[in-house]
Symmetry: C2
Subunit: 191 residues, 2 copies
C-alpha cells in the first residue's frame, strides 16, 4: 500500500534492534484518515469473503479494527490481555509470549462474543514474531469459528511471524512489509 | 441520548456493587454503528468549539475516540497506562488510582503529541469516580493545552466523578447518566 509505505518512510522512526516506531500516526497518536484508507484496503482484499466479525487485541489494534469494521458493516471484538491467574470458564484463552515486554500473558475473549461457524477477520497493527496473532487464531478456532484472514498494517518481513501465520493455514495480507531497516533510518519494503 | 439508554437497558448487565457491564456493545464487543451515533452526538455537543485533537485512555476509549475523531476531522491521541517505575522525560504523566483494579498506575502521553495551546476534547466510555479523567485533564493542562470538554458515554451519576470534573472547570457532557441501579437489573437514567 503505497501511501502507507510513504507515511512509514516519512514519519516512522528506526531504532537499533530493528525497532520501528510509528507512534505519530498509528499507535499513540492516530491519523484516523489513514485508518480509513487502511480499512478500505482491507475491504478491497477481504471484501469478497463473508466476514461476520473483526477481531483484534488491545490496545493499538482497536482503532484499526473499528474503522475497518465500519467498512465491513460488522461488529468488533477485541481480545484482552491479562496476567491474572484465575481465568473464568466463560472465556476462550491462549497464552502469548511478548518479546517486547519479556513476559507471558493470557489473551482472553468472552465466549459470549465468539460462536461456532462465525467467519472472523483478525487485524492488528504489527506482525513480527507472530505470537499474538497465533494466539488469536487459536482462540478463534477453539470457538469453532473460522479465521478467514489476518490483516496486518505493518509486517516485519525479516521475522518469522508471516511464515508462522501461513503455516497455520490462514490467509495473510500485510499492507506494508518491511524487508530490512538500517540504524541510519533507511527502510526497505518488499515488492 | 435515547438510543444509548435503550441499548443499555436492553443489553447492559447489572451486578451487585453497582457494576454495569456493557461488554456486548461498548467495551469488549463493539457495535461500530452505535459508535458512529455516539460520535455524531459528541459532534452535536462540541462541534461549535474549535477542537484540535481527541484524547482518550487505553483500551476501551480508543474505538470511541477514533470514530468521534472521524466526525471532527482531527487526530486521536490515546494515553497509555503503565506501572513501570522509570518514566522518561519525554512524557507528560499523571498518577491515577483505579478502584476497579485496586492499584495506582501512571498515565502517560508523549510530549511529541500534545502541545501548548491545543484545544483537546477528552472522551471515555465510563465516568464513575473520575480519577482517570482527572488524570487526563491534568496531563492536558501540564502541556499548556486546553481541555475544552469531557465527553462521556456512560456516567454513573451516583458517584462523584461528574462533580469533580465540573469542579476542575471542564465542561462535561455525558450521553447517558445512570441515576441508580438495583440488583434486579433495573436501571434509572437521569432526566
Amino acid at each position: 500500500m503505497r501511501i502507507l509505505e510513504e507515511r512509514i518512510r516519512k514519519d516512522g522512526k528506526v531504532f537499533p534492534g530493528n525497532i520501528l516506531k510509528v507512534d505519530s500516526f498509528l499507535n499513540h497518536q492516530i491519523d484516523v484518515h489513514l485508518l480509513e484508507q487502511i480499512g478500505e484496503e482491507f475491504y478491497r482484499l477481504f471484501g469478497q469473503e463473508q466476514i461476520d466479525k473483526i477481531m483484534t487485541i488491545e490496545a493499538s489494534g482497536i482503532g484499526i479494527a473499528c474503522i475497518t469494521a465500519q467498512r465491513f458493516g460488522v461488529p468488533v471484538v477485541f481480545a484482552k490481555k491479562s496476567q491474572s491467574i484465575n481465568i473464568s470458564a466463560d472465556v476462550f484463552t491462549s497464552k502469548v509470549a511478548s518479546y517486547t515486554h519479556g513476559k507471558v500473558y493470557d489473551v482472553i475473549v468472552s465466549k459470549e462474543f465468539l460462536h461456532s461457524g462465525e467467519r472472523v477477520l483478525i487485524v492488528d497493527d504489527f506482525l513480527a514474531k507472530g505470537q499474538a496473532m497465533l494466539g488469536l487464531i487459536e482462540i478463534v478456532r477453539s470457538a469453532g469459528a473460522v479465521p478467514v484472514g489476518a490483516g496486518i498494517v505493518i509486517e516485519k518481513g525479516f521475522q518469522e511471524g508471516g511464515e508462522l501465520i501461513r503455516q497455520a493455514g490462514v490467509r495473510l495480507e500485510s499492507l506494508a512489509v518491511v524487508e530490512s531497516m538500517s540504524d541510519d533510518g533507511a527502510i526497505v519494503f518488499r515488492g
